[in-house]
Symmetry: C2
Subunit: 340 residues, 2 copies
DNA sequence: GGATGGTCTGTAAGCGCTTTCCCAATCGTG
DNA sequence: CACGATTGGGAAAGCGCTTACAGACCATCC
């Protein structure tokens, strides 16, 4: 078990002081070519790699950015992360990615961890909770982080006190509602997300708004809670069909649940879209490859990630900035005219 | 821009030495209850969070584990990462996850970065390249890392000199080949992965082996290169159909490419499975929800991730350990008897 | 020729934490 | 009651790096 070489070893081998070695290794100009060459070759010879903790300590921040998402395995967040990675591909910048699995405690723990790591910035994606207690603690964390010089950017959050990028959930759901109404659907079931998420709230109220504009009402029993997972979509659609046997359309608040719903329908001999139309939200990559391909609302996930990262790396402005990104209705095969 | 409180501030406020504060905060060695209480309340009052870089420097390692995968957005790697996260959920352990997008340079850079961070262990998932130069450099990195006390574990790699977990690619492909042969398929096209990946190599040779056991040959022109992405599957199947118009089955070396292939076939009026059977490999979560549901070979991805992490956290043994995990043939709707 | 200024280089003081070493106080025991 | 054995707490020495600060050297200019 050898000792890892330090900058002191490099300096000694090169016959210079550690200061000179450090300056050379960091590319600071004022080092004469001969010394510079000696240092570099010494470093190479020893296989020297700087200890980043020591560096971060001395500089009192490493340049890395903390990223907090619900689950990178979920295509929605996967795309957001991909966008961030693409935007940071060329730089040396390190992204630290954490999954909360929607556990608020874990989320707070990660924020604390990132603060302890003195990251340069944090990006948090995923709807926040409509929970005062949680919101307050999160706000306190973020404010503390920023007042110590950190930067925070958010994706799709309303309440947290930081710069954010927001997809137009309300507008997207609204145009989807109108599209369904135009297709003649009158008995529409909705599979929601967790009731305390702002995303759920927004998509739902946009949808309701769209229906009302078309002169349609929307009974409470047409609403079943899901939790944004495939299996919950499967379970929810069963409840829906039981409650409203003559349903003509199902709107799931995200694509994953729509996939679960379509699977259940298919297994129970209910043809999509002939018997029941199905629509989702997000337009995750797989949606176009489903059979039938899924009608949905496209959310520019990768772009949201990239923009959020950019926001997080820009210096702080006096006012909080919010960038709104448009969503786009994508009608595919899974929605057709309502049967009579 | 306030100064972040340090352990010194806590100690001062509590009226004790930093040593006592540190001991209290780390729960190490008995500190008398009154002092302990004073320290804890001082820490709470100041909102103290230890600087992890300083801690890592003093302890000469933080406990974190570096994870290198091709792309977490790819369901295969997503599941592996999920397995690791689940296995480390209860611990304080931090996983640092990096995407290489199969860029060997980036992969080497990440390894170097993790060494510089003095991580406790690294887990690398994804087939390695059959490239001597790259292999040598990677081996040097890993050996260096381990001889400095680090631990390395690999998922699905042959050559790198570390403990590893390996799915039985050969066996899985072999039983799939036999299943296709049993269904009467004689003209089978194969969509491969990148030719220099060991995974490609193993799956292909297993498949060939299975066919030969059934007394079938396998012409070169029935082979088209893909790169494990959906779009490459789409392109490859087009070439295949052009070359062998009376094809009865297509085997894609992973599910994602099978999805692309099915999409192309569908768009060109070729019915799966009636006209052409399609099979994949991996059994990613979406595979069962496809229409038709996809026949494939199940690879226990999450378990591989969990096992690899466990391996990485166990102390090193004198000999290299390799855990083999079984794969399992999963026949679904996308494969049926060959048409005459 | 000495003062002036510029360019390199080295010395040393941190960055914030852990941990060894040591001392003082307390305890148990014959 | 004296003694070693324990125990709790503090001083201080690092961990490996960056970066003022200052000193050395050389060329330039009046």
């Amino acid at each position: 078990m050898e000792r890892t070489p330090t900058i002191g070893d490099v300096a000694r081998l090169a016959g210079v002081s550690v200061a000179t070695a450090s300056r050379t290794l960091n590319g600071i100009r004022a080092v004469s070519p001969p010394l510079r060459a000696r240092v570099l070759s010494a470093a190479r010879e020893l296989g020297y790699a700087p200890n980043l903790h020591a560096r971060a300590l001395a500089r009192s921040s490493d340049g890395s950015v903390g990223v907090i998402v619900h689950d990178v395995g979920d295509p929605y967040f996967g795309e957001i992360v991909r966008g961030m990675l693409r935007a940071s591909a060329d730089t040396e910048r390190m992204l630290l990615i954490c999954n909360t699995y929607r556990d608020p405690q874990r989320e707070l723990a990660y924020v604390a961890h990132f603060r302890a790591l003195r990251v340069k910035a944090m990006v948090m994606a995923g709807s926040d909770l409509e929970d005062r207690e949680f919101g307050a603690r999160m706000a306190a964390q973020i404010t503390g982080f920023e007042s110590a010089g950190g930067r925070a950017a958010l994706v799709g959050r309303h309440y947290a006190p930081g710069d954010s990028v927001m997809p137009d959930n309300v507008g997207g759901a609204r145009s989807l509602a109108r599209a369904l109404a135009d297709l003649g659907h009158r008995r529409i079931g909705v599979i929601t997300g967790p009731p305390n998420l702002t995303t759920t709230h927004d998509r739902l109220s946009g949808f309701r708004m769209g229906l009302e504009e078309a002169g349609l009402g929307f009974p409470d029993h047409a609403l079943v809670n899901g939790d944004f997972t495939r299996d919950s979509g499967e379970r929810a659609v069963e409840v829906l069909i039981e409650r409203i046997p003559d349903l003509t359309a199902v709107f799931a608040l995200n694509d994953i649940m729509a996939i679960g719903a379509m699977s259940w329908l298919r297994q129970h001999g209910i043809h999509v879209p002939r018997d029941v139309s199905v629509a989702g939200f997000d337009d995750i990559p797989i949606s176009r490859d489903l059979v039938p391909s899924l009608s949905t609302v496209r959310v520019p996930m990768a772009e949201m990630g990239a923009r959020a990262l950019a926001l997080a790396l820009q210096p702080r402005t006096s006012s909080i900035r919010t960038e709104h990104l448009a969503t786009e209705l994508v009608l595919r095969e899974s929605t057709v005219e309502a049967r009579k």
